[in-house]
């Protein structure tokens, strides 16, 4: 593990009786980075986060913060949550209704017995950061969901923790506010340079705000990668399906090489870029619906996969258009900008580059 790793998790298991929620996972997060734990509900992402916080007792494994073990089953180390010095934003916000906004934010500072003047200064700074300075004396029970969210963030950063944990912090907000808060959270995290772990089931959110995404499924890690890499080169069927909108085309590999040839069930031959080579036993090609070009007048292009099809259904989403295209290998989902309107029933040429095809087995 690297020297600059701020959070290190190794061989971590969490079990409740016979159910294993987290199964031997390992990852490390660098200083100042934001890493996201992404996965469907029940995949163990929140359990992992709570284990880092010290709110959940693992069965075995190792957790290090800034080089110090806070949990180590071999050495029987288990530092209680309040001594780990990290901070957390809860899904329910956990704003204490019997205190004012300022009292909520000051809590971590008061616990640390900071001088009065410093507490006032830090509370003001934290509330400024989330643009809630005007609300300091408001009873916390009189806040809207979005305001509670901001107060929860201010409270979490007020005592300048070295690590910040987010447990699905935006899942209770409406779509527009969620998109705004996403930007704000990312800016705040980068400005303060706080190492952060962020839990979400929203793949779009994960891709948008993370330095690294850790995709989890059934208690295990499927892939750890930067957002672009995760989107372009999913390592497994699960990742291809869960992250982004992908077509999974079934068939057989006919020829391997730097560019392999794949025969779809409809008898279509596709060229798939495989710079790392291919085993030949793969049975699926994953193809992002955003990477497919549709043209109303069929004309081929060099190096590209080319086919003709018919527009089966067009759905206008505003920011994009979702097409369902009938083609020899079945149906393709294609996502195009709203400027590219093609009528339902029209004949189209379908093009996509071999680089955008990913061979997968299973």
């Amino acid at each position: 593990m690297s020297d600059t790793a701020c959070i290190e998790v190794a061989g971590l298991c969490v079990a409740y009786g016979d159910t294993v929620a987290v199964d031997r996972i390992a990852f490390s997060i660098q200083q100042g980075e934001l890493a996201t734990l992404l996965g469907p509900s029940g995949c163990g992402k929140t359990t992992t986060l709570r284990a880092i916080a010290g709110l959940e007792d693992p069965t075995t494994g190792l957790i290090r913060l800034n080089g110090d073990s806070v949990y180590d089953s071999a050495l029987r180390v288990n530092v209680p949550a309040e001594k780990r010095g990290l901070s957390m934003v809860f899904q329910s916000y956990a704003i204490w209704p019997h205190m004012t906004v300022a009292e909520n934010v000051a809590y971590g500072l008061k616990v640390r017995r900071r001088p009065r003047a410093e507490i006032d200064k830090e509370v003001r700074r934290a509330l400024d950061l989330v643009q809630m300075s005007g609300f300091a004396d408001r009873p916390a029970s009189k806040l809207s969901g979005g305001q509670q969210q901001r107060v929860a963030v201010a409270r979490a950063v007020a005592f300048s923790p070295s690590v910040l944990l987010f447990d699905e912090p935006l899942s209770n907000l409406d779509a527009k506010l969620r998109a705004e808060m996403r930007v704000e959270l990312r800016e705040l995290q980068q400005r303060l340079g706080i190492t952060s772990v962020y839990v979400t089931h929203d793949q779009e959110e994960a891709l948008a705000i993370s330095d690294h995404v850790i995709v989890m499924n059934k208690g295990r890690i499927e892939q750890i990668d930067a957002p672009e890499a995760l989107y372009n080169r999913p390592a497994s069927l699960f990742v291809a399906d869960f992250v982004g909108a992908a077509n999974l085309i079934e068939g057989k590999v006919r020829q391997t090489g730097l560019v392999s040839v794949f025969e779809t069930q409809g008898g279509q031959f596709l060229r798939v870029a495989t710079p790392q080579g291919a085993s030949g036993s793969e049975t699926k090609v994953a193809l992002r619906s955003a990477y497919i070009v549709l043209q109303a007048d069929p004309s081929g292009a060099e190096n590209a996969n080319f086919a003709t099809g018919t527009i089966h259904r067009r759905m206008f989403h505003g920011d994009f258009i979702q097409y369902v295209v009938d083609w020899p290998a079945g149906q393709l989902m294609v996502r195009r900008p709203p400027t590219e309107m093609i009528a339902e029933g029209a004949l189209v040429s379908i093009m996509f580059s071999p680089e955008h095809c990913v061979l997968l087995s299973g």
Partner: protein, 548 residues
């Protein structure tokens, strides 16, 4: 943790052991372990067939009346637009707080043969025949239904409120008429709740004591609970019969309560959540005046008439409705409060109420936390043990405690200590249920967040948990206080001339001296309880406001 758990489990299970042992004892009564063991006591129960018949008759009649009242009132108050609306809901709980003992005495004053106030009016207006005789099986059932049956209303209206109104609305939108929706959607959805309420109330009625005691003993109409009392008062006391009857009653109640729980669990649909909804009231048009009249009639017979009768009687020298003949006096209250009779009992009850509530809330708070918040293995079993006294009739439990503590070489028999221990034990389920409701309402993440912020356990308790729980804790304190003040079943066996408490003292006065004097005593008890109830409702209101 075990330091708290084990003594509490012992408190609950130890007396039960003695009831079992005594029911098998055919040697010298009250000796533990028994000198000779056989099932003779149980075999003897066949002579008590009449008593069992009486018990079943009274319980079934009382359940039927209680459920008819409860269902009608719950439906009217939660589903229709009657004038006054939900302001009546709280008033419906008053009969419960008035206690069956006070209710039975009040109805004794109202509808006793010849002298009953209602009968007196009837004599004046119509003729010499009595209109009612409350000292009868139907009279006992009537009083039980009014004053023990409140739980039917509470349970049924909870079932009606827990149904998502959109389930009905979607049926209406899909073209189902009002009646079709009521029969096809509403009824099946509330049926499990109503059914389990019926069975639950029936179990309560089997173990009810006060009404059967006040109204049954004069006419020698015995049910199981009063028969248990009777056999302990004989000379020599027939403890074997009492224990066998008590154990049978306990088994019958346990089985019935399990059936109620089973119906609730198996029958309730996933769509019915713990969430409370306020269903859209049905516009019942002119019928709402009829419904309002029904609600007012219930309040009249369950609250206004009983309290009015007791109040009037308590200020008179001889109870009469012919006001010109009446001699008004404060003498009854003076006698009641003088040290000899009720005064010392009243002081004792207050001491017990305050100390049991205070210690109870502390210990039960810890127990609640262990059962509902910790990850201690076997906490479900612990919950089961602590909830156990719920299924044991108070009277039987009191008997078990009596034998248990007589056989222990700690000289607390005849002191308030024994009563305190008994109250604590029998109120475990009440306290646990109330506090659990409070603890579960406070989201766990509120405490976890304080933890992550760096606050240790003590600091967390002081700044977050306790302030959030305070109103709920106050409510639990008041409920235990009220329950202690009014306690009758367990106290009957455990009090001694040196440790009198209010309810048994009132019963003694009722049996041995004038109804005017006991009316004054009942009024003092009722007034004390009502003050506590008003504070309780106030606390509950601030609690719901803080949540919103």
């Amino acid at each position: 943790m075990w330091l708290v758990l084990l003594p509490c489990a012992a408190l609950v299970l130890y007396p039960v052991l003695f009831i079992v042992s005594e029911s098998l004892n055919v040697g010298e009564p009250g000796v533990f372990p028994p000198e000779a063991i056989s099932l003779a006591n149980f075999a003897g129960l066949k002579d008590d067939a009449t008593i069992i018949g009486h018990t079943l008759f009274v319980a079934i009649a009382a359940t039927a009346m209680a459920v008819i009242f409860g269902f009608a009132l719950a439906w009217i108050l939660t589903r229709t637009n009657i004038p006054g609306g939900n302001r009546f809901e709280r008033l419906m709980e008053l009969p419960y707080y008035m206690t069956p003992l006070v209710g039975a005495m009040a109805w004794g004053v109202l509808a006793g043969p010849k002298t009953g106030l209602l009968n007196q009016i009837w004599h004046l207006l119509v003729g010499p025949e009595d209109l009612f005789n409350i000292y009868s099986a139907w009279g006992i059932a009537w009083v039980m239904a009014l004053f023990e049956g409140t739980v039917a209303f509470v349970m049924i209206s909870a079932a009606m409120k827990s149904m998502d109104p959109s389930l009905e609305e979607s049926a209406r939108v899909l073209g189902g008429g009002k009646l079709r929706t009521a029969l096809g959607i509403t009824l099946p959805l509330v049926a499990p709740g109503v059914l389990s309420a019926i069975v639950f109330v029936f179990a309560e009625m089997l173990g009810a004591f006060a009404a059967a005691f006040v109204l049954g003993i004069p006419g020698r109409y015995y049910v199981v609970t009063t028969a248990i009392w009777e056999s302990t008062q004989e000379f020599p006391p027939n403890y074997g019969r009492a224990a066998a009857l008590g154990l049978s009653l306990f088994i019958a109640m346990t089985v019935t309560l399990s059936i109620a729980r089973l119906i609730m669990r198996k029958g309730s649909y996933a769509t019915i959540t713990g969430k409370a909804f306020r269903p859209r009231p049905i516009n019942v048009g002119a019928m709402r005046w009829l419904y309002l009249a029904f609600v007012l009639f219930y309040l009249l017979v369950a609250v206004i008439l009983p309290i009015g009768a007791l109040l009037m009687t308590s200020f008179q020298k001889f109870a009469t409705v012919v006001l010109p003949d009446s001699i008004f006096t404060l003498e009854n209250y003076r006698v009641a409060l003088s040290t000899g009779t009720l005064g010392s009992a009243f002081v004792n009850s207050l001491i017990l109420g305050i100390s049991v509530a205070t210690i109870g809330v502390l210990v039960m708070g810890v127990l609640t936390w262990i059962v509902y918040r910790s990850r201690l293995p076997g906490r479900t079993a612990i919950e089961y043990v602590l909830m156990f006294p719920q299924a044991v009739p108070r009277l039987v439990f009191g008997l078990g405690l009596l034998w248990a503590w007589i056989n222990i070489p700690i000289p607390i028999y005849g002191t308030l200590w024994l009563l305190g221990i008994a109250y604590f034990t029998v109120f475990l389920p009440l306290g646990l249920r109330t506090l659990a409701g409070v603890v579960l309402q406070v989201d766990r993440s509120l405490e976890e967040c304080a933890c992550v912020c760096g606050a240790g356990w003590l600091h967390r308790m002081r700044t977050v948990s306790l302030p959030l729980l305070r109103p709920g804790i106050a409510a639990a304190w008041l409920l235990i206080f009220i329950a202690s003040i009014r306690e009758l079943g367990a106290s009957l066996f455990l009090m001694s001339p040196q440790s009198k408490v209010v309810s048994p003292a009132i019963i003694n006065a009722w049996l041995s001296s004038s109804s005017e004097l006991s009316a004054a005593m009942a009024m003092i008890l009722t007034a004390t309880i009502f003050v506590a109830v008003i504070v309780l409702f106030g606390v509950a209101r601030t609690f719901t406001r803080a949540e919103a």
